[in-house]
Amino acid sequence: MKNLILKMADDALIIGHRNSEWTGIGPLLEEDIAFSSMSQDKIGHAWALYRILNEELGGEDPDKAAFNRSVKDFTCCHLVEYPIGEFDFSLVRHFLMDKAEFHRYDLLLQSSFLPLVNLAKKVKGEIKYHVMHADTWMQQLANGNEESKARIQSALNLVYPIAFSLFEKQDDEQAVIEQKVFVGEDVLKSIWVDDIANRIKEFGLTIPSSIDSSAHLGGRKGYHTDHLEPLLKEMTEVFAIDPNAEW
């Protein structure tokens, strides 16, 4: 169960930090604010998850968990590690990831572990806004002009296979399922695949046909892309200089 919560926290922390890079450079003021707000939400979710680990399961202090671990100890998936790229890349990643997050928390409403149920109740309302935001922009750009449609389609072709890294299983998954903490990644994946397929069709876009997602696995076991280490280095810069600094 600790692994499940830790990977959820790591995903939220890393995507939160990543997308905060849009602060100040968003293509529109509203988007600058939207990506900044969603990042803040995600870091809040990470904080709540690290707190559950700390308070209920004997894990370390949330700040230490976030700032004082080596790359190998992070269990985030490859999807969240990639640089923000251009707006089409970040938008499609946000669309694919938040749909998965929405369904994950929805499934966690049935968890046997009460702290996760309470958190899911809280977080679902917030993620709804993330999903709304992503859907609105996907709809608009897919139906904008030829260039916007082509760019969204090519970003989708690139990001869709990487998004399967979200559902990489962990060694103790069977126990998590048996204890009814979570129904498992396969169930989540099939709900997500159907939902994404429906939305993509509505937008008039196409799901890439042959997908090899195996190249993007490993994150849950500590094998990361080359992009994670520089991100962590930047994120933990203040902590590395002075672990007791208050800011």
Binding site: K122, Y129, D135
Partner: protein, 164 residues
């Protein structure tokens, strides 16, 4: 356990003086953020606070504000506990508080929580002129709890405390 109603009343009155740092016309009590108070221990007071948004950056400031306000009213050793069981939603904001919000220039959350759809963010009445001829600009605003709208009648931007 002896419940001293007089003591509880004094604590709630003190808490009613703690203003939200982002919306200074509302108290934490107005917003429905104080879920319970435990004064059963003679030497300390426990205040349970449920945050509006998980990532609200004002949580620590509000905790300090509560402790200082209670100290000012003679309650030493107050502790603020983050209540993760009582989930906050905009339904917890009192009607009086919604009026205060409007006067402050922020549109009140309209619909019940958990039923929020994109359409609920449309045609939000403008807090300045009351017109419903408004457009949602973004579901995100200057703080996590606000959305941005534009009034096509009085041509002004305004914010809304978004339903959650």
């Amino acid at each position: 356990m002896i419940i001293d109603t007089n003591k509880d009343e004094k604590i709630w009155l003190a808490l009613n003086e703690v203003q939200d740092p982002e919306i200074p016309v509302l108290s934490l009590v107005d917003l429905g953020m104080i879920s319970k108070v435990d004064s059963s221990n003679a030497h300390s007071v426990k205040v349970y606070m449920t945050p509006t948004f998980t990532g609200c950056p004002a949580i620590n400031i509000m905790k300090t504000m509560i402790v200082l306000k209670l100290l000012e009213h003679g309650f030493e050793n107050a502790v603020v506990i983050i209540d993760t069981e009582n989930i906050w939603s905009t339904d917890k904001i009192s009607e009086l508080a919604k009026e205060k919000l409007k006067k402050f220039g922020i549109a009140a959350p309209n619909k019940k929580s958990c039923l929020v759809e994109m359409s609920d963010l449309k045609d939000v009445p403008c807090p300045h002129c009351g017109s419903n001829y408004t457009t949602l600009r973004s579901p995100f605003g200057s703080t996590l709890c606000r959305a941005m709208h534009y009034c096509n009648n009085c041509n002004q931007s305004f914010e809304q405390f978004k339903p959650i």
